[in-house]
């Protein structure tokens, strides 16, 4: 375990990170959940693409697949994917103010306003999409 140092020839000890490092703090755990959320989002997108592909196979095949999505395992998957998607979205929108600097002339938009604007934009676009597809 001891590693000889190249330049001055002294030994060092390099501790190894435990595979469970992400269980040691709530923030690390929530980060891993954010990363895991990508798996569910990817699964949702693949299912959606498959659904679009089935449109080319005729209405009966498509309707049959639609019915299979109404089973408990798919409903459970979509519920988990929805929760993870919302979590992932909120964590990213929440940091926009820290990352995106917007200047109007010599005025710099305060981070809180930037973050709030992003959330307002998100809810507005979601409402418009919801109105178009659910009316």
């Amino acid at each position: 375990m001891n590693q000889p140092h190249n330049e001055y020839q002294y030994d060092t000890y390099k501790p190894k990170m435990s595979p469970t490092w992400w269980l040691k703090s709530r923030r690390y755990f929530m980060f891993m959940m954010r990363e895991l959320s990508s798996v569910f989002v990817a699964g949702f997108v693949l299912l959606l693409l498959y659904q679009i592909f089935l449109l080319t196979k005729g209405p009966e095949v498509y309707a049959s697949f639609q019915r299979s999505l109404m089973t408990p395992k798919f409903i459970a998957f979509y519920s988990v994917a929805f929760v993870f998607s919302v979590y992932h979205t909120f964590t990213w929108l929440g940091v926009v103010g820290r990352i995106q600097i917007v200047r109007i002339g010599s005025y710099t938009m305060p981070p809180k306003i930037m973050t709030a604007s992003t959330f307002v934009g998100f809810f507005f676009v979601s409402a418009v999409i919801g109105y178009i597809f659910l009316r």
Partner: protein, 248 residues
Amino acid sequence: MSDKTIKIRVTRFRPEEEDEPTEQVYDVPYQDDWVVLDALNYIKDQVDGTLSYRWSCRMGVCGSCGMMINGAPKLTCATFLKDYYPKEIVIQPLANFPIIRDLVVDVDDFMAKLKAVKPWIIREEQKPVEEGEYLQSPQELKDYKQFSQCINCLLCYSACPVYGLEDVFIGPAALALAHRYNMDSRDEGYAQRTVIAASSEGIWECTFIGECSVVCPKHVDPAAAIQRTKVETTNNWYKSFLMPWGDK
């Protein structure tokens, strides 16, 4: 001096005697106004002169007394015993770095990375002294001031699991300082720095855990600096792709 005592559990590593670190527990007099560094200095002066650790200014400026306190990276000069008393305090060397001796870690890797991002003002041409200073407006100062507060204490590296798992990562402080100089209106070294900062070992290794910014004692927010650099380099790439005739 108070009759109260507090237990301090310290990592010991004496490479000439042992292959792995061990622990040693010391009873230290408890005082409300003592910080963890005071307790270590008490041990060094009164109990065990062989204990090794780094410290200098005692006021959160030099950045040399960073250690793991009960598992969290902190400056020992800014961490009070009263926040832990009567429970014991566990002091370990900064995580993610090789240990040289007791609480002293090897920071050569960081020093090499810091030098690689050229954290100084680069000018293509220096103007003659008689032409005066390089002037800067308050807004131009504000653009980078937050990132210039870094004291190289390395708490951010210790909190960064990416650096712990992949030590090729240039890391939070060096990237924050690269951003600091890139944002400086007097600087012209963006291209030189970005070769390193935007390499695969640079900003793109960062998965935005954000713990570097949480533990930073100077509120530098290295995570924001890294994400801003990602946005900036991506925008510049698109600009160079769409407008190859434009400024590089």
